[in-house]
Amino acid sequence: MPAFDYAPAPESRDIANLKPSYRPFIGGEFVTGSGEPLKTLNPATEEVLAEVGTASAADVDTAVQAARKAYERTWSRMPGAERAKYVFRIARLIQERSRELAVLESLDNGKPIRESRDADVPTAAAHFFYHAGWADKLDYAGLGPDPRPLGVAGQIIPWNFPLLMLAWKIAPALATGNTVVLKPAETTPLTALVFAEICQQAELPPGVVNIVPGAGDTGAELVNHPDIDKIAFTGSTEVGKLIQRSVAGTRKKLTLELGGKAANVVFDDAPLDQAVEGIVNGIFYNQGHVCCAGSRLLAQESVVDELLAKLRYRVSTLRLGDPLDKNTDIGAINSAEQLARIRELTESGEAEGADRWTSPCPVPERGFFFAPTVFSGVQQSMRIAREEIFGPVLSVLTFRTPDEAVAKANNTPYGLSAGIWTEKGSRILWMANQLRAGVVWANTFNRFDPAAPFGGYQESGFGREGGRTGLEAYLDA
């Protein structure tokens, strides 16, 4: 009997309406930036997708001035109910153009279309809907009698969820009456620039949203610009520390959402099959390019063998390949640099004595791909247990008692998320109180909602995004 070979079911790349070149969006217009243009690649094929104009220091200044003007003349003076209309309109336009955005996102980022279509784009729209609802209710958010916007927000977002991170940043900023200058990541600028088109379509007043593509130097210009009132950054801990240093001593407000090395704790009474699903979803979702990924599996010693057997079988069924294929579970690593970093860290895992198991799935010859990998026999002292790998690599550690589980889970400089798997409700509540992590999931992993605040402890950053708490980051209350 032949095997059940799923025929390729790719989305057409034509849906993305890909253009040969994209330009910065400043003061409501697409302008020719005076920075050095960059080329953005399709990580699944290594082909150039488009040329993207970048913003120089002068362009960043123009963008900040445009944002300042828009803030003072229109946006901050507008009644909340009026602002809400624009934000709702943006949410609906994201929904209308969802297929285009999903395909473009998968082309530019390498993530499977299943995820961009079913998670990224709908959740991005949901963030605009949610925050639109807050725009005229800020007085009742419990943040003080008369919360005021901060002014111009400089926002810098990473490459792992380009459109979704944009939504997390822009939606609350606009709803609370701030104007923004946003820098998308240099490897994934395209959906942000289509979002700029959506702002035009929504007839958003010019200057309320400005998009300045570029690399780290553009980001530094933005961070150091004297007329910025707030910086919001999501990205690596290293860059986060640099930003915090440069902002120190200024009046600028700062929120940072940085790296993570989350523990996913599985007790011996856990629903094992669903725990396996949660582990897979926790670390292999979006190729592991998730700051809150469950990259450290802490399994109780009494079930670790059974759990590992089930996990390896499950991981070997994951389908790796063309991100545009609807049947693909794992797409491409976003860049050659990231792939090299993943390789370097996995090699260190082998060198330090952990047992490496790699899925036997076929790996395409072209493009940046990395087969899902599980390290067992990992000890806290190894690099793969301490450093964020940001790739489809899971480190499996063990524990004996609940106290040991808490101690090991908290034994990290990070603290963004954690997972608990047990059928015992009292243990879930006890653990959740002990774990130092911004989000603790119980019997699930990687669930998001605009109403649930997200953010970290220690080197995972500070400030919260989403929910009522998230509004505080954009208000002087």
Binding site: D5, Y6, A7, A9, D273, Q274, G278, N443, T444
Partner: protein, 317 residues
Amino acid sequence: MTSSTLPAGLADATRDEASLRRFLHGLPGVDQVGVEQRAAGLATRSIKKAAKLWAIDTAISMVDLTTLEGADTRGKVRALAAKARRPDPDRPDTPRVAAVCVYPDLAATAVRAVAGSGVEVASVATAFPSGRSARSIKLADVALAVDSGAGEVDMVIDRGAFLEGRYGEVFEEIQEIKAACGDAHLKVILETGELATYDSVRRASWLALLAGGDFIKTSTGKVSPAATLPVTHVMLQAVRDWYTTTGELRGVKPAGGIRTTKDAIRYLVAVHEVAGEEWLTPKLFRFGASSLLNDLLLQRRTQLDGHYSGPDYLTLD
């Protein structure tokens, strides 16, 4: 109560009522949200073209074409058998179905009607569908089916005893019926709609496997909800775990409510990705259905002809 062929760990589990209970309640729990999420996620696999045609043919070859009405007649069974042998008379390359499934008193008619075709006769027995009768009557029911030549027996478990926690009784009954089946294959119907929780479905699956059931089957088709994807996921995990523990391959049969090709393909994807490729054979996976076959045939024609055909081109039997 001990079953001699089991590996030591599992044989211990069936030593007495208490150890059976400890074993079944020691199985990992099933998280409802998680299993339903996984089932919904797998249901979005996109199966097209050659893969779809392969899936359709495979699904046809797995159908237990079923009629279980009080009004069943010999004529109806003969018509069903003819359809089972040659599902699409215009296309002789269409695979035959796996079996016809009838009540025990009609098994002899069915056996004559499918003779020589390779189609099996499955007969429901054990006071189907409620299972509420004396053990002796259930065994007599099985004997009628087997003596009539049925190669497969579909029994129902005593849900009353299961829900009361009398696992030993359910176990023994399945064992006795398995013995009464002789060479006939035994499919154990759990009636998952009445067991209500996924934890119970998992326990009942293991109970049936421990007692020697060749297949575990979701439903009689007389209770709603009948087969669902998440329930089938739990049962597929049970046979997969059984295989890991014992090296034996046992089958799964969802029955009731599977009407469309789209549904059937979702089940096949689950078989493929939850249990494994080895299970993609009529020996280990069946669909209990009556109206599913015609939709499969219609979709098969669509794939081959490139356009839709109408229901009038297919036989109604």
